[in-house]
Amino acid sequence: MADRKRVMPYPKERILEDAAFSRELAPTRLLALLLPVWQVEVRATVTDGRPYELIERYIERGIAEGALGTKEELAAFLALDEPIVDRALRFLHAVGHVVEREGRLTLTELGRRSQRDDRYYFVKREDRRKLYFDAFASRPLTRSYYDAGAVTLPPADEVMSLVADSGQPPFQMLCNPGGFRREALRELANHTDRERYNLPVRIEQPESLQEDLVYLPLYVVRAVDRRGAVRYLAYSQAGAEADPEFTELCEKTPGIREVLDIADLAVDPERQESQVTEWCRRRGFEQVEPVRLDEGGWQVTLPAEAFGPKRIPHYRIGSFAVLSTCLLRIRCEDKELRERALLERVGSYVTRRSGVTAADLDGRVDRVARQLELTADVPEVRRMAADAGETKLAGRLDELLAGPVE
């Protein structure tokens, strides 16, 4: 269990609830995949940018706008010590923003461009950096995948231990469909939305020095929408919300889509039934009748006694149990208990988190109510809280209804 937690930073039930109650899909299966990703060491002449710092910004503006052309003039104008201005100018000269012509300082083209865009550009020749590309379309990964604190991209020789430790469902590697598409590097030059893809401002003559295959852990939720179309939502370590790029990759890339479809076709309904029955039996509900839903999922409706301390916790009412070949939705027939669960979950949400807004709360209440098969909005929950004697919660909801809270 602990190992599984280490791979993905959230419980899998949370993404199933996201698919079911935020996106109104019917989840039928959860798969754990390791998506091959090219980690490419790129050498290029790169123009990168960062926000200006205060002194350097005003020194450059002083030169550009104030026609201040010497270290002494700048120091006097900004009331800074000359050595400080001198050292700042050394940096600006070294980075290619400022030159001296006939004894006067002027901005270079790079300096002027930086001023125009209000971004401190710097050119790194022989820059070496590692970029990630998915191994199917060789498209660059978005910025969040470069956060080493959140996302692990183990290489092939380490991925086996991850697979071995990964628990249920086991992480399965997808095979790499081919080599790295080198043109992808040239395409970077014209890539739009560079910020989102963690790309420098300008990249010239990119050259691949080394390509290593690494693997990105993904949860893929197979779900069916209202029109009966099958969706494959991909969730990564970067967050408990479906990643649009990887979702598209899973749904539209032939090599992946087919394998996912086959994985579903290959499941034996009898095996699913026996897994569901076994799940109920272990919890002492031999008498309840699990139901197979049209979309392919299963559900079981349990009495109120099934929930509580040392039994199924209240927060799992309406949620899912992940079985190896299917998902089982856990319902509760007792409306009163479901209402209590709603109050508990809303209470926990508003007290544990800071900076909750009324809009956040609306969305949360809506989602949890749907999970619990209740119809309720915030005023309704507030009324329920008051009726149940939960004055603290009612008070907190009043505050939130009144306006944003720090």
Binding site: F77, L78, F91, L174
Partner: protein
């Protein structure tokens, strides 16, 4: 991607017996996904020109290997037929995730010409399965070496060294933790804010202590149950304890009631461990550090031509050049007073002023040592001190990052506000621009009119002039001709003179010398003749001018009252007046503009009364230039207003930039790792001062952060401080290298191991009087220390700069030591305390710079209490009395030192560490006064100490001043 394997000959596939039935089953479940039979399979396999991904499955249950072919949607399992001529197709199954997983672990790209045969007997003769080719390819794939790792592991010797350091750090932390098990705590009943002088955003609060126990000044305390709050006791006032916290603390965060508890803090251990980790993962900036420390392998020192800003002696200069040229690590050994600090500041300055060198980290174990160096750096070096305000020396506070940033911000805001007032009149100046332009044109028009009137006057004058006018005309024509002639003569003369000069400058071959002399004489004659002609022409021109002037005068007389002339003259005079008036107006406009921008700009000067045509030209250019200039000034005003807003933001926004611009950053070893802003600074050089006192675990913290390093110090002075528990632990390991790591500084461990090219010894001291220095030189520096200073002795109290007040003559019960009171550790000596206190008071009253050094904290406390009765300034007492450890690196005119020990046993305790004596004695610039029981010191059981005492006795007897306690006290009393 997959390694390719090509089967050279065609391969036949034959359906296995159950294949057809299985395919029918699959077709129901996976419609359209799988081939209907071997014929379709072969056709699809041959459709992949690059081949298909293939893996080999190990035999199951004693069976055979199988070959798996993977297309995008299905997997084909093949077995070699019994005769080895073909493959049987055992199954075709949809591609499952497990198949993907297997493929991802490695596959071959198998290319072949596939043939479908419905029966084994249909396989043509000569066909083979070519299993050996497949199997060889598969075996090669399995045996492929593992990926090369990017980071190579450190070698075994380096790993052992790092492991040893890690164990040492763990043990130190554990032992410190054990001692902290029951930290002293002080309950408080109330917290209040205080008005305390502060330089940064750190919080200072007063805690009202409940109970009788109080923490002592300078102790580090935290708040029980809140690990993040750590501060230092600044003062104890009644029941109030003032604590300065390490960071800004919101008053609301502090519990109203709670407990202060003494802390040790584990940040030190964390930073030490981090340094070792950087070395282990080879992320240290000085990539030669492990080879230097472990293998004693160093790169050669490069020659440099830098010159110091101040004069250095020969040794200092050698150290300076070595430090600038060293590629990895160098050592500078500096006995007391040999100018280590001066050398360090010159090294730092040379690095700072060379634009291609990176910043310098000046670091040491103590804040005081760091600040000692910083204050001596020249003004043109940008210095930043990083540290906690409460701990930085008062001298070093001026460089404190927080204070520098605050000062810079305040100064910039103030000056911007003043300057902005100067820009306020720009709009008025701009209003004057069209006025100036218009007045310039008016002046031009007036000037045009004036010129015209003058011409007219001239014309009329001539018209009225008659014969006089004709005479003038004639004379002028004559003058013009004469001027032409004069110009011609001038030209000829110039030519002749220059030709003559050239000829005279030539060296003539002797046979032609006579000819040349004749030619020269000829030229001289011609020049004389030409000059005479020129003079004649000049005289004629002068005559003509005089005659014209006379004629003009005559003309004026003749035409003076002629009416048209008079009218024209009046008109010209009027035009003149108008012109002058217009010029005054221009000047007024210019003056107005100039004064309106004077606060922010100096406009170019215009000499308005000069030649009007030139003045007008300048004015027109000024008119064209001024609007643009005012635009620039307006832009500056806007910029300045925005700068004021920008710089008025949070002061800490300036920190990263100031750090980036710093030439020298000063921090303690631990401090160099504790600011996030420093993490990215690529230090070129780390200069570690007092390195003889710093153990390896600590010195590594700055060393991993700089490309190169210089350790400056003296291993003959105090070694690193080691807690008892840690020394015992090290002894317990039975590992000599661990013990060395604990007890010796890195400097000491390296000094005899690295090549001589990487060590410079400073040998010329300029602090101590010769009599002290000679003793020290013989005792500690093998006689190498030379004295380069002459001190004029103050003989008011002692006849010589080295004096010994001997307590041996006192009765034993008076002179003897006693245990520290209150059951505390240590030793006190009341007789010594009295004389030392009296001496301190004597020097303090005379305004002499003094320090009192004793080995035991208990003795320090005793003397401080005694002195507290006569000296009210507690800072003076705190700052001048201490144990040896707190004075290393410092110096005073007068040093008072008391040995404290006096017992029958001849026990000198930890005085057997002779290096303490070295430090204590060598702080003196004028006078060293030692107080002790000489008889007992000479009887010391420790051999080395006894030898030192004997040498000292002989040296003081020969060159110093020995005084008996009782009579000296009487003398001293008399002087009070």
């Amino acid at each position: 991607m997959y390694p390719p394997v090509a089967l050279p000959a065609p391969v036949a596939l034959v359906p296995g017996r159950p294949l057809a039935a299985r395919l029918v089953q699959h077709a129901e479940r996976y419609p359209g996904l799988l081939p209907s039979g071997v014929t379709q399979l072969v056709s699809e396999l041959n459709g992949y020109p690059q081949g298909v991904a293939a893996t080999v499955d190990e035999p199951r249950n004693g069976g055979d290997h199988s070959l798996l072919l993977h297309t995008r949607t299905y997997v084909v399992r093949l077995f070699v037929t019994r005769s080895g001529d073909a493959y049987t197709v055992a199954g075709i199954n949809p591609m499952q995730l497990a198949d993907q997983h297997r493929l991802a672990s490695g596959a071959l790209m198998l290319r072949a010409e596939w043939h479908a045969k419905l029966e084994p007997r249909e396989v043509p003769p000569g066909f083979r399965a070519q299993w050996d080719v497949v199997h060889n390819g598969w075996t090669a794939l399995r045996n492929r070496p593992a990926d090369r790792r990017a980071v190579t592991e450190p070698g075994p010797a380096h790993t052992r060294y790092l492991d040893r350091l890690d164990r040492l750090i763990d043990a130190t932390q554990r032992i410190a933790g054990e001692r902290q098990n029951a930290p002293a705590s002080y309950p408080y009943g109330k917290v209040e804010s205080v008005a305390e002088r502060r330089y940064s955003a750190e919080g200072v609060y007063a805690f009202h202590i409940v109970g009788k126990r109080f923490p002592v000044r300078n102790k580090y305390v935290g708040i029980r149950g809140a690990r993040d709050y750590r501060g230092q006791v600044r003062r104890v006032e009644g029941d109030r304890v003032l604590v300065r916290f390490d960071r800004l603390i919101d008053r609301k965060e502090l519990p109203e009631q709670g407990e202060l508890e003494e802390t040790a803090g584990d940040v030190v251990h964390t930073k030490r461990r981090e340094a070792v980790r950087l070395l282990r993962t080879q992320r240290e900036r000085n990539r030669s550090l492990l080879p230097v420390l472990v293998d004693h392998r160093l790169k050669p020192v490069q020659d440099v031509s830098d010159r110091p800003g101040e004069e250095l002696d020969e040794d200092q200069l050698a150290a300076f050049r070595m430090a600038l040229g060293v590629q990895d690590l160098a050592l500078v050994l500096g006995p007391p007073g040999t100018g280590k600090t001066r050398t360090i500041s010159e090294i730092a300055r040379a690095c700072a002023l060379a634009p291609d060198r990176g910043p310098v980290l000046v670091t040491s174990h103590t804040n005081r040592a760091v600040d000692n160096v910083l204050v001596k750096l020249p003004k043109d070096v940008v210095v930043i001190r990083v540290g906690s305000e409460g701990k930085v020396d008062p001298d070093g506070r001026q460089f404190l990052l927080e204070q520098l940033a605050a000062d810079l911000r305040r100064e910039a805001i103030g000056r911007a506000e003043t300057a902005l007032r100067g820009y306020a009149t720009l709009p008025q100046a701009r209003q004057w621009l069209p006025v100036l332009a218009q007045r310039t044109e008016a002046m031009a028009a007036a000037f045009g009119a004036l010129v015209q009137e003058r011409h007219e006057l001239e014309r009329i004058r001539y018209a009225a002039g008659g014969p006089v006018r004709d005479r003038i005309t004639e004379l002028r024509a004559g003058l013009a001709g004469q001027d032409q002639l004069l110009a011609r003569r001038h030209g000829e003369l110039g030519l002749l003179v220059s030709r003559d000069e050239r000829a005279r400058a030539r060296r003539w071959w002797p046979p032609f010398a006579a000819l040349a002399r004749a030619a020269a004489r000829r030229r001289e004659r011609r020049i004389t003749a030409c000059r005479a002609q020129f003079d004649t022409a000049a005289a004629e021109a002068g005559r003509l001018r005089t005659e014209i002037a006379t004629a003009e005068h005559h003309l004026n007389v003749v035409i003076h009252d002629v009416p048209p002339v008079r009218a024209a003259r009046q008109a010209a005079a009027l035009a003149e007046q108008r012109f002058v008036a217009s010029r005054d107006e221009v000047e007024q406009a210019l003056r107005a503009i100039r004064s309106l921008v004077a606060a922010v700009d100096a406009l170019p000067a215009v000499a308005i009364e000069g030649d009007p045509a030139q003045v007008l030209d300048i004015l027109r250019r000024l008119n064209a230039w001024l609007p643009g200039r005012l635009d620039v000034l307006a832009a500056r005003e806007k910029l300045l207003a925005e700068w004021r807003v920008g710089i008025s933001g949070a002061v800490d926004q300036l920190y990263p930039e100031l750090i980036r611009y710093a030439d020298v950053i000063g921090a303690t070893c631990i401090g160099s790792a504790s600011r996030t802003e420093l993490a990215d600074v690529e230090f070129d050089l780390a200069i570690v001062d007092e390195a003889g006192q710093i153990g390896t675990a600590d010195v590594l913290i700055p060393l991993v952060r700089a490309r190169r390093a210089v350790l400056v110090g003296d291993h003959r002075q105090l070694p690193p401080f080691v807690g008892d528990g840690v020394a015992d632990w090290a002894d317990g390991t039975g590992d000599a290298e661990t013990t060395a790591l604990v007890t010796k500084s890195t400097l000491e461990m390296l000094v005899d191991e690295v090549p001589g090219s990487h060590v410079v010894r400073l040998t010329r001291q300029r602090r101590m009087p010769r009599v002290i220095a000679d003793f020290i030189s013989d005792m500690f520096y093998d006689g190498t220390l030379r004295t380069m200073v002459e001190r004029t002795p103050d003989t008011s109290l002692f006849a010589k700069p080295l004096a010994f007040v001997d307590t041996s003559g006192l009765p034993e019960r008076e002179r003897a030591e006693s245990a520290a009171p209150g059951g505390r550790k240590g030793t006190v000596n009341h007789a010594e305390a009295r004389v030392l206190g009296a001496l301190a008071e004597y020097y303090h009253r005379r305004g002499v710079e003094w320090a009192l050094i004793v080995p035991y904290a208990a003795q320090v406390k005793l003397i401080a209490e005694l002195l507290g009765r006569s000296i009210r300034d507690s800072d003076a007492i705190d700052g001048n009395i201490g144990t040896v450890d707190s004075f290393q690196g410092g110096e005073r005119d007068v040093i008072l030192y008391g040995f404290t020990r006096s017992n029958r046993r001849g026990s000198v305790g930890f005085l057997d560490e002779l290096r303490r004596a070295n430090v204590a004695f060598t702080r003196a610039k004028q006078q060293l006064v030692l107080v002790g029981d000489m008889d007992m010191l000479l009887r010391a059981t420790d051999t080395r100490f006894r030898e030192l005492a004997t040498s000292l006795r002989d040296h003081v007897r020969d060159t110093g001043d020995v005084r008996k306690y009782a009579e000296f006290m009487t003398d001293l009393e008399g002087l009070r």
